[in-house]
Assembly symmetry: C2
Homo-oligomer: 372 residues x 2
Amino acid sequence: MTNNKRIRNKRSITIRDVARQAGVSVSTVSNALNKKRYVKEDTTRKIREIAEKLNYEPSMIARGLRLRSTRSIGVIVPDISNPFFAEMVRGMENTARKMGFTVLLCCTYYDVEEEQRQLGLLKNKWVDGFIFVSGYNTDDHIRDLIDQRLHVVAVDREITDFEVPSVLIDNKEAAKTAVSYLASLGHKMIAYLTFPSTNMKTVEDRLKGYKEGLYDNGLEFNQELVIIDESLRTNEMRESYQVVSEFMRKANHPTAIFAMDDLIAIGLLKALKDMGFRVPQDISVMGFDNIAISAFTDPPLTTIKQPKKRMGEAAIQLLIDLIERKKLDSKKLILPTELIIRGSVAGVRGSEESRARLQFYSSEDENRRGRD
Amino acid sequence: MTNNKRIRNKRSITIRDVARQAGVSVSTVSNALNKKRYVKEDTTRKIREIAEKLNYEPSMIARGLRLRSTRSIGVIVPDISNPFFAEMVRGMENTARKMGFTVLLCCTYYDVEEEQRQLGLLKNKWVDGFIFVSGYNTDDHIRDLIDQRLHVVAVDREITDFEVPSVLIDNKEAAKTAVSYLASLGHKMIAYLTFPSTNMKTVEDRLKGYKEGLYDNGLEFNQELVIIDESLRTNEMRESYQVVSEFMRKANHPTAIFAMDDLIAIGLLKALKDMGFRVPQDISVMGFDNIAISAFTDPPLTTIKQPKKRMGEAAIQLLIDLIERKKLDSKKLILPTELIIRGSVAGVRGSEESRARLQFYSSEDENRRGRD
DNA sequence: ATGAAAGCGCTAACAA
DNA sequence: TTGTTAGCGCTTTCAT
């Protein structure tokens, strides 16, 4: 009875409803609302009021169909439950929203076919551009995108064959820094724990950095000290636990282990502890990424910080510039990394003076106060 | 020269291109591809071939405009970088995809206004339904949705005023279980660490469960043992560290602390350790959620498991049933929780026999092998 | 068994 | 300063 206005609310309010009520044409409404051409003050105000009253919301679908653009961005990440990606995506959403764009998030779970499927979906939804995060360097489908004049930006993923603007860090250098840090504390037996780099330049570069880091410090590369295990790729913590348990049972213990990322390092930490090793007194551990939890492990993890949020922000910015045809300042943005010294690394003799102390509130800690 | 086919690839292939090449009408193409009405075998095959050849992909935008439905679902979570939500969303994406739906993810960062903004955005994109995860119980905008005959499902969030199908756990019971477990090990001074429940039934219920749990075990409720701190809401680990440091400096230490969620518990673990307390020998800690990292803290966290992936799956399933007008089996789905005993809780005297041992590969561990 | 045409809601070119 | 109208790509009645 009283709510009979509500009864046939199936169809939503369109621009025509507003036009009719305001006694003007649809184009006037459109123009008033989008200020595309001049509309008399009075009319504009009236239209505004009516639109407000009717609770009119322009349909992005219709607008998309007409404009062939939806002001949305497809973001493709391997796995959002990995904090590294989650933190980065957060940076993306923030800036996207500020610029009036929406982010459509897709996870591939490290599956190339899935990536392509998702891509198709996104394309059919007419996103204005794509951001590819990490993932494999099987770039044929990305080339197709470019050929179709679609906008693409890559993050933590280098497209080698052709030019795609990308936001990167210098993985090789960063890994070298890590190794050098370890070496500077007297470590000579430094192991490296990773998964196969199959088509992932990031993973490959870190391994290279590890090797070069050894070389730079006059250390010899020893194949037996690098553990490359496929199982680490996804369920990282859990699997690294397994893998390491085996590794450490062998003779010739390393005095330090450098893990390809923090998740792996965290599993490592636990495995080591369960086997009776004390970190860092008996063995040192380093990670890579500086995800939020890494400050809260025991001991807190010494690691390399990637500016995740800033990477996300930069990627969105780059892509929007591309979409809006602004010319880009640079095609390749290399953001700085940083050595975050916490408590999981000690001098090789475990001597107190060389022990790297917890830097809990170090000013460079990305996760501090939610800012980056 | 050779790639001049590629040169004006701006416009993408439409159904008309396919129709023209196949020498049939657009409606035939549409019908052949969607099998909406019978099309001669031959023609169908030919159309299929041409579509394939041209790489035709129907525009979801145009179809959405026509059908007023986009086979996409808007998922609204407080913060995707919180592993609890990330793991749940992963469950959602999986089932959504299987059913041919796309998930549009939005984060509110615990901001009601933001939630409403996102909602507007999603609505204008004509998602077929919404899933609200957690967040505050300010449900006016959700009521509007319902009034507009839109489909809504809630997860970990009870809409009290009116009927919205929801996927829940029994937070009160689960919290009681936790407290009872602690009590059974002889704990009498059990503290509770949370943020204000302002309009969040989940948070409220856990506090209630804590109180009732005490009562059930003949323990007295002591206001001084419950720490309610706003700062825990977002940056949970970091803040709980701070909050707890202060709390433990006071006299009358509790022998156990029950944290509202695992993230808080992890910060707690660290704070305690930094203050020189041994967990669980000196003090026991329990969490809630069983996020993936909780198995890898030191000691591994004893906690209450929420079936996150299953919750996500169920929510999507429920919503799709709603969208496709199947009748629902039930409006309220309460999924079971489970006590996960690991190493952060000990008997009150720290006696070895009462020490709850690490159940690393306990069969009920959700995160094992990525399955749930 | 298939085609023609209307129309979903919007914007923009063209008129006035 | 504003109105009229075509058309974005698709599905679906209504014809045939």
